[in-house]
C-alpha cells in the first residue's frame, strides 16, 4: 500500500512539475526541479525497498472501460529502471534551468519544462504498467512529449525535419506495438500483460508478435537499422532533452523487450540469434558512423545506438540461455544487459550535459572548430573525461562492469551444452570496445586537448548549476565502477525476474573488480606522486623539432578517424568535395566531407518518395469540395450498415 502510494506520488510529482512554471513566471525553474527531486526521492525509496528489501507491490484501480483495467505491478525489473529514470531526470531538470533558461528563451522554456515533466511521469508509469492499454497510453504520452520537446526550437528547418522523422518513426513503432499486444492478448485471453502460455512462442502468431514487438520496441530503442530518427532528433533537441531521450527514453524500448523475455517461458533459439545479430552489426556500424560525425551531438547519438546494441547482445545471451535452459546464462546475460542499461542512463546524460556545456561556452558544436577547451573549461573537461572513459568500458569506471558480465556470459555459453554462437557477442564486444576507445579519444582529444582550431572568441566555463548535476552523475559512475558489488542484490533480483533461479553471487565476483581497481589506483597514485615532484619548465611543443607549429597542423577529427572510416567506406558513403589542385604553388583550398545517415538518405527517403509517387493516382478522389468528402463518409456508412446487417 505504501509502495503504491510512493509510486503514484512519483508519477504525479513528475507529471505536474512543469505546471507551476506555466502559470507563474520566473519561479518555474526551481519549482520544477524541486518537484522532480521529490519524485526522485519517492522513486528511489520505492526502488530501494523493492530491489534491496525484496518487496513487490500491485495496484488495480477501477476504470469502467472494456478490456482496460488500470493494473500496475511493481517488480524488481521495473524498479531497476525506475531508479535511474527519476534520479537522472531530476538532475537534468536542474541542468536545464540555466542551460535553456527562461531569461533566454521566454515562454518556450516554460513549455519545455511542462513537456519534460509529463514525459518523465509517463516513463515512470511505463515501468510498472501491467495492462496493454495502460502501457500504450503511457507510451504514446511519452513519445508525444518527446516530439514537442524535440521541436521546441522549430524556427530551424533542420529541427522541424528531425522532429518529423521522429514523429513518423515513433508512430510506426506504436502501431507495431498495438498489433503485437493484440496478438499477445489473443494468446492469453486478456489485455493484461503477463506470462504467455507455453508453446505460443513457436507458433505463427507468436513469431509475428515477436517480430512486431521487436520492431516497435526496437524503433524506440534505436537499434540499427531502425535508428534513422535518432541522430536528427538528438541533434535538434536542447542538450538536456537529448540526454533525456538518449539516457532514458531509449531504455523504455529495452524495457519492453526485457518484459517480453520475462513473459516468454520458452523462446525459440532464433530469437536470440536475431537479437545478437542485430546487436553485433548495429554496434559496429553505429561506431563507424560516430567516427565520421563532426557534430558532437550527432556523434553522441550514434554512440547511444552502439550502447543499445551492447544491451541487445546481453539480451540475446539471456534469451539463448532461456531457450537452452541454461540458468546461469540467463542471469549473466540479463544482469549484464541491465547493468549496462543502468550505466548508460548515467554516462550518456553526463556526456550530453558536457556537450551542452561546450555549446554554452563556445556557441558551436562543430568539433572541427574547437580545441584546447580543457584550459578554458577545466571542470567540464574533467567531467567529460570521466564520461568518455566510462562509455569506453574502461576499468575502474562503471561501463566496464556491465560489459564484463556480458563477456562472462559469452564465455560461459561456450562450454558443452551451451550456445556456440555466443562467440559472436564476444568478438563483437571486443571490436566495439576498441572502436569506442577510438571514437571517444577522438572526441575528447579534438575538443578539449591541443589548441583551438579556429578563433572561438572568449570561452567561458559553464555555471555551477550546470556543473553540479554533471558532477553528481560522474561521481555515481565512479562509485559504481569502484564498488559494483553494491549493486549485486539489485541486479540479482531484477535479472531473476527474467526467468532464472541462478544467483549472480555464484557466477561473477564483482568484488574482485574493486580489488583490481584499488590496486591499479594505488600504483598510479604512487607513481604520479613521484613523477609530479620532479622540477619542470614549460616550452612550446617539441614535436621532434618542428620549428613553426600552428593550431591548424593539429589532427582534426576527420583525420584522426580516417583510417577507420576508410575501411568502413562501403557503409558510410561519405560525400566528399575535393579541391582541384593545379600548378606548383596552389592557393589555399577547402576539402569538405560529410557523412549523412546512409539508411535515412539511401533507404528510407527514396522509399517514402516512391510511395508518395505511387499513391499520387489517388489524387483523383481529392475533389476539393467538402460536400463530396461528406458524401464519401455517407457512402461508407451505408455500405457498413448493409454489410453488418446482411
Amino acid at each position: 500500500m505504501l509502495l503504491s502510494t510512493l509510486f503514484f506520488s512519483a508519477v504525479f510529482l513528475a507529471a505536474f512539475s512543469g505546471v507551476p512554471g506555466l502559470v507563474l513566471q520566473r519561479v518555474g525553474g526551481w519549482t520544477a526541479s524541486v518537484l522532480l527531486a521529490g519524485a526522485a526521492l519517492c522513486g528511489l525509496v520505492l526502488a530501494g525497498a523493492v530491489l534491496y528489501g525484496g518487496m513487490t507491490w500491485q495496484a488495480d484501480l477501477p476504470w469502467r472501460l472494456p478490456n482496460a483495467h488500470l493494473l500496475f505491478k511493481g517488480d524488481a525489473l521495473g524498479s531497476f529502471i525506475l531508479a535511474p529514470v527519476v534520479l537522472v531526470s531530476a538532475l537534468l531538470s536542474v541542468y536545464g534551468k540555466d542551460y535553456w533558461s527562461e531569461a533566454e528563451h521566454g515562454y518556450a522554456a516554460r513549455q519545455l519544462r511542462f513537456f519534460f515533466g509529463i514525459c518523465v511521469g509517463a516513463m515512470v508509469l511505463l515501468t510498472a504498467a501491467a495492462n496493454a492499454l495502460v502501457f500504450l497510453f503511457a507510451w504514446e504520452g511519452m513519445a508525444m512529449m518527446g516530439f514537442f520537446m524535440i521541436t521546441i526550437s522549430d524556427q530551424d528547418a533542420s529541427v522541424r525535419e528531425g522532429g518529423w522523422v521522429y514523429f513518423v518513426a515513433t508512430h510506426l513503432g506504436t502501431l507495431c506495438l498495438f498489433a503485437g499486444f493484440s496478438l499477445l492478448a489473443s494468446a492469453t485471453g486478456t489485455f493484461d500483460l503477463g506470462p504467455l502460455p507455453a508453446g505460443f512462442a513457436a507458433t505463427a502468431p507468436g513469431t509475428a508478435a515477436f517480430l512486431l514487438l521487436l520492431a516497435g520496441f526496437g524503433l524506440k530503442a534505436g537499434i540499427g537499422p531502425l535508428h534513422v530518427w535518432l541522430p536528427g532528433a538528438h541533434a535538434s533537441a536542447p542538450s538536456h532533452v537529448s540526454a533525456l531521450l538518449s539516457g532514458l527514453m531509449l531504455k523504455m524500448g529495452i524495457l519492453g523487450l526485457l518484459r517480453l523475455l520475462a513473459w516468454t517461458p520458452d523462446p525459440p533459439l532464433w530469437w536470440a540469434g536475431l537479437l545478437t545479430g542485430l546487436g553485433a552489426t548495429s554496434g559496429i556500424l553505429a561506431l563507424a558512423f560516430a567516427l565520421a560525425q563532426k557534430d558532437l551531438k550527432r556523434m553522441l547519438a550514434y554512440s547511444s545506438i552502439e550502447n543499445v546494441s551492447i544491451i541487445f547482445l546481453g539480451l540475446g545471451l539471456a534469451m539463448a540461455g532461456k531457450a537452452r535452459g541454461i540458468e546461469a546464462l540467463v542471469m549473466l546475460g540479463g544482469a549484464g544487459a541491465l547493468f549496462h542499461l543502468l550505466n548508460h542512463t548515467l554516462f550518456k546524460p553526463l556526456l550530453f550535459m558536457g556537450a551542452g556545456s561546450v555549446m554554452h561556452g563556445t556557441g558551436t558544436r562543430d568539433m572541427e572548430r574547437l580545441g584546447g577547451l580543457a584550459k578554458a573549461m577545466p571542470r567540464t573537461s574533467l567531467l567529460f573525461l570521466v564520461g568518455s572513459a566510462a562509455i569506453c568500458g574502461l576499468p575502474p569506471l562503471n561501463g566496464f562492469a556491465g560489459e564484463w558480465l556480458i563477456y562472462l556470459g559469452s564465455f560461459r555459453a561456450l562450454g558443452p551444452g551451451g550456445w556456440l554462437w555466443a562467440v559472436v557477442p564476444l568478438v563483437a564486444l571486443a571490436i566495439i570496445g576498441a572502436l569506442a576507445v577510438a571514437c571517444f579519444t577522438r572526441a575528447y582529444g579534438v575538443i578539449f586537448l591541443g589548441e583551438p582550431r579556429t578563433d572561438l572568441g572568449p570561452v567561458h566555463e559553464a555555471p555551477d548549476s550546470m556543473l553540479r548535476p554533471m558532477a553528481v552523475v560522474a561521481g555515481l559512475c565512479a562509485a559504481i565502477g569502484l564498488a559494483p558489488v553494491a549493486l549485486q542484490p539489485a541486479l540479482d533480483r531484477a535479472a531473476s525476474d527474467l526467468g532464472t533461479t541462478a544467483h549472480l553471487s555464484g557466477l561473477a565476483s564483482l568484488g574482485y573488480l574493486s580489488l583490481v581497481a584499488a590496486i591499479g589506483l594505488l600504483a598510479a597514485a604512487a607513481v604520479w606522486d613521484r613523477v609530479r615532484r620532479a622540477p619542470s619548465t614549460v616550452a612550446g611543443t617539441w614535436d621532434c623539432g618542428y620549428a613553426a607549429p600552428t593550431a591548424r597542423i593539429q589532427y582534426t577529427g576527420a583525420s584522426f578517424a580516417q583510417m577507420l572510416t576508410e575501411s568502413f567506406y562501403w557503409v558510410l558513403r561519405p560525400l566528399e568535395r575535393r579541391p582541384r589542385i593545379q600548378g606548383l604553388f596552389p592557393r589555399s583550398a577547402v576539402f569538405r566531407i560529410r557523412t549523412p545517415d546512409v539508411f535515412l538518405d539511401r533507404a528510407v527517403k527514396p522509399s517514402v518518395d516512391f510511395a508518395a509517387w505511387a499513391m499520387s493516382w489517388l489524387r483523383i478522389l481529392q475533389a476539393g469540395h467538402l460536400p463530396i468528402y461528406i458524401l464519401y463518409v455517407v457512402v461508407t456508412l451505408v455500405a457498413l450498415f448493409v454489410w453488418t446487417l446482411s
Binding site: L394, S410, V437, V516, A523, D543
Partner: protein, 307 residues
C-alpha cells in the same frame, strides 16, 4: 597460506626487476645480427636512472592530463603483472573473468597514452594516436578469440587454468588449434609492443612510427615512465605467450627458472624477428592483423570441432 604470499612476492619482484632487461636483450640480439657490439644488456636500467634525475619540460599546449599517459601505462603494467601467471600455476590475483579485466587494462593504458599524445597539439603525435587506436580495433578481437578458444578448451575463464590447460595440450590433438592461437597471440604481442614488423622502435621517421611518435614530447621522469611502462608491457604480454607454450612441472624450483629462461628466449626471438624482417607497409599491417583474427577464429573453430 605461505605459498600465495611467496608467489606474490616472487612475481612482483621479478616483474619490477627484470622487465627492463627484455628490451636490452632484444637490442643486444639485433646488434649481434648487425655485426656490432651494441649497448649493454642493462642499458635500459642506466637510462631509467638517468631520466629519473632529470628535469621535465612540458609543452605549453598540454594540460594535467599529459602525465596520465605514462602513469597509466606503468600502473596498468603493474596491475596486469599480478593477474598473469608466471612461475606458478596461478596468478596472485585470480578470479572468474580475470582474463577480460586483463585485456581491458591495456585498453585503459591505450586510452590515456592516446590522450596524452593529442594533448600536445602536434600533428605527428595525432598521427600516431590515430594509428594506435585503429590497429587496436583488429588486435583486440584477435586477443579475445584466442581467449575464447582457450576457454572452450578448458572450460574456465581465468587466465591461470586457461594457460595451464593449454600448455599441457601441446602433445595432444589440441596442438593444431594451439598453434593457431599462438600465431594470433604472437602477432598481437608484436603489435601491442610496437615491434617490427608492425612498428620500428628505432626509427626516427615520424611517418613510419606508431608508438614512438606518441611519446615525442615526454621528458625526464615522464619519459622514464614511458620506457618502463613499455618494458612492463613486454614482460606481461610476453608472460602470456610464454605460459601458453611452457608446460609446468609443478615443482617451483623448476618452473620459475624455466619461466625466466622462457622470457629470455622470447626476447631473443623478438630480436631475431626484428633483425630479419623489415617493417611492413602501413596497409599491410591491417592485413597482418586480419590474418591474426582469422588465425584465432580457426583456432576457435578447431577447438569447437574437437569438443
Amino acid at each position: 597460506m605461505i605459498r600465495p604470499v611467496l608467489t606474490f612476492l616472487a612475481q612482483v619482484s621479478l616483474t619490477l626487476a627484470l622487465a627492463p632487461l627484455l628490451p636490452g636483450i632484444i637490442n643486444k640480439v639485433k646488434a649481434l645480427f648487425a655485426g656490432r657490439v651494441g649497448p649493454p644488456v642493462l642499458q635500459l636500467y642506466f637510462d631509467l636512472a638517468k631520466l629519473m634525475r632529470k628535469d621535465s619540460v612540458y609543452s605549453r599546449s598540454s594540460t594535467g592530463l599529459f602525465l596520465a599517459g605514462p602513469v597509466a601505462s606503468v600502473a596498468v603494467g603493474l596491475t596486469a603483472a599480478l593477474m598473469v601467471p608466471m612461475g606458478g600455476a596461478g596468478a596472485p590475483l585470480h578470479f572468474t573473468g580475470d582474463a577480460i579485466v586483463f585485456a581491458y587494462l591495456f585498453g585503459v593504458a591505450r586510452f590515456f597514452i592516446v590522450l596524452a599524445a593529442l594533448d600536445t597539439g602536434s600533428a605527428f603525435e595525432g598521427m600516431g594516436a590515430s594509428r594506435e587506436v585503429t590497429f587496436a580495433v583488429l588486435a583486440e578481437p584477435a586477443l579475445f578469440l584466442g581467449l575464447a578458444a582457450l576457454s572452450m578448451h578448458c572450460g574456465a575463464t581465468s587466465l591461470g587454468p586457461m594457460l595451464a590447460a593449454a600448455s599441457k595440450g601441446w602433445n595432444t590433438a589440441s596442438a593444431g588449434p594451439l598453434v593457431l592461437v599462438l600465431a594470433a597471440w604472437t602477432i598481437v604481442f608484436l603489435v601491442e609492443n610496437c615491434r617490427i614488423p608492425f612498428d620500428d622502435p628505432n626509427t626516427h621517421l615520424e611517418l613510419t612510427m606508431i608508438h614512438e611518435v606518441m611519446v615525442l614530447d615526454h621528458s625526464g621522469p615522464g619519459l622514464g615512465l614511458v620506457f618502463y611502462g613499455a618494458s612492463l608491457k613486454l614482460w606481461v604480454l610476453g608472460a602470456l605467450v610464454v605460459k601458453l607454450c611452457l608446460p609446468m612441472s609443478g615443482r617451483w624450483w623448476l618452473d620459475w627458472p624455466a619461466f625466466v629462461a622462457g622470457m629470455a628466449v622470447l626476447a631473443m626471438g623478438v630480436g631475431v624477428v626484428e633483425s630479419v624482417m623489415a617493417r611492413l607497409k602501413l596497409r599491410r599491417v591491417s592485413q597482418a592483423l586480419i590474418a591474426a583474427v582469422v588465425s584465432g577464429t580457426f583456432g576457435f573453430l578447431l577447438f569447437l570441432l574437437q569438443a
